[in-house]
């Protein structure tokens, strides 16, 4: 409504009379602007295309004309061989996906608990809060590869009764231990960004501390940290590949077995391609969620 009024007054000198009820026709000045905008966007597209061709073309020609290109393409991009081993790598990737699903659900559970313990102010929780803080500090500060090695080789070395030697289970454990610490921090930051006035409003309605957390704080916190959590999920998918060091036959291990047999690195490239097939759509999706969440927060700021 306002916009229309504004447009009407701008064009008050225009011969076409402005009326609220009648069908609106763009004025001469607006038609001119549209033509100009179209011309400009056409020019922009042209510049973008030209510069892309030049830059990418130069890079490509540098690589292809390099003295080592022929041997490199033989060892890394031997496609016929690549597709031959592809089924084995895909089978290995199944292990990565399985690891991801199990780890992600467990991490969501433990991460949430750790975050709740760390943000709790209840005196009875104090020792657990200290333990949770130490836990998070320690496991966020150690490279995951080290944790996998320590868990994978350390726990069997204890020779405890009833403790598994299964590398697959030990690998998952290491991943869960590490990622719970990461995710706990993300969720905790979400909880802390919920404004204290929201708690005050909930408490003044008579809701208990737990009810406030359950119905008011957590829903808002989790919504806010969805994009960073999705980011962590992408990282998790990739990092499940690290358990191959324990001998779990995942996509990387499968590629390694093939390539050590043929002295050709194409299986690695195939494995990389399979990872990308999953991670790129997920990354795009994460970006979209993030954009939406920012838009939503901006809208709230305006209200």
């Amino acid at each position: 409504m306002n916009q229309e009024v504004g447009r009407g007054s701008e064009n008050s000198s225009d011969s076409a009379p402005y009326s609220f009820g009648g069908a609106w026709q763009p004025s001469a000045i607006e038609i001119e602007r549209r033509i100009a905008r179209k011309a400009r966007s056409r020019k922009n597209a042209l510049v973008a295309t030209a510069s892309s061709i030049v830059v990418l073309g130069t890079l490509l020609s540098i690589i292809i004309t390099s003295p080592g290109w022929k041997t490199l393409s033989e060892t890394f991009f031997k496609w016929a061989y690549g597709f031959e081993v592809l089924p084995k790598i895909i089978l290995g990737f199944g292990a990565n996906l399985f690891l991801t699903v199990i780890a992600a659900t467990s991490v969501a559970f433990f991460g949430l608990i750790l975050a709740l313990v760390r943000t709790s102010r209840s005196p009875a929780i104090t020792p657990f809060r200290l333990l949770a803080t130490v836990y998070v500090d320690v496991f966020r500060g150690i490279p995951m590869l080290l944790i996998i090695l320590l868990v994978g080789f350390g726990i069997p070395a204890l020779r405890l009764q009833g403790v598994t030697n299964n590398v697959f289970i030990l690998g998952i454990m290491a991943v869960i231990i590490t990622y719970s610490a990461y995710v706990a921090e993300v969720i905790r930051s979400g909880i802390l960004t919920v404004h204290p006035s929201q708690r005050a409003a909930a408490r003044s309605l008579g809701l208990s501390n737990m009810q406030t957390l359950r119905y008011v704080v957590l829903p808002q916190a989790l919504r806010r940290v969805t994009p960073p959590l999705l980011n962590d999920l992408v990282s998790l998918i990739k990092d499940t590949g690290l358990v191959s060091i324990l001998g779990v036959t995942d996509a990387i291990r499968a590629a390694q077995i093939e390539s050590s047999r043929s002295f050709n690195y194409t299986p690695y490239v195939m494995a990389a391609g399979i990872f990308l097939l999953v991670t790129i759509p997920l990354t795009r999706y994460t970006d979209r969620t993030l954009r939406k969440s920012i838009e939503r927060q901006n809208a709230q700021g305006l209200a």
Binding site: L205, Y215, R296, A303
Partner: protein
Amino acid sequence: MSIPVLALEKVRKAFGSEVVLEDISITVPEHTATVFIGASGSGKSTLLRCINLLEQIDDGVIRLDGQDISDVSVDPDEIRRKLGMVFQSFNLFPHMSVVENIILAPMRVHGKSRDEAIVEALELLTRFGLREKAEQYPDRLSGGQQQRVAIIRSLAVKPRLLLLDEITSALDPVLVNEVLSTVRDLKEHGMTMLLATHEMGFAKQVADEVCFLEHGRILEWGKPEEILENAKKSQTKEFLKRVHEAGRL
């Protein structure tokens, strides 16, 4: 005389070494509205938060229907169930629709069924002309509408006493009136209220008692016409003059 809904006896509150409330004694009989006026930082909001047990007092006694609610053995959640509070910044829950905001406490705190709570919420929304906003989310509402929903949310638990903390301060002048007329409506229906406000004209209309606070102390307390038109203390006069100059009277 019957027991007042609220009675404060020599209440004191300090944040560290800074004393924000000192020697506050008031009584609020049933069906009356007491309005606190005073400059920002005079302790109005803190006083309301203390009554709601959102802040802990450092001395004195607060009684609700005769019960000492400042006693350490009192469960704050229990007390807050009997009190409604509305904030300057609305504080609606942004992830819930209007009707969900309103039914949360009746369902979770007072154990009502969802259907029953919804029926009551819709009745309240209809009464205050917001029926068609029931399914909307707070960010789709104007400030005035949000604040009216916040008032309804606090009414839904049928409070003994309503605490209104500068509820129009975050609104632009056009929207102030719709909120104030809601409060006037409540007053006519006999709601016992405690208000902190900068709207002197409104204070005059709705208040049974006006309390002037300065630096955490009650300087004057009386009928609205006594305080707002014939203030005895020079500080009260000075404050009212400044408010008048700011165009709020």
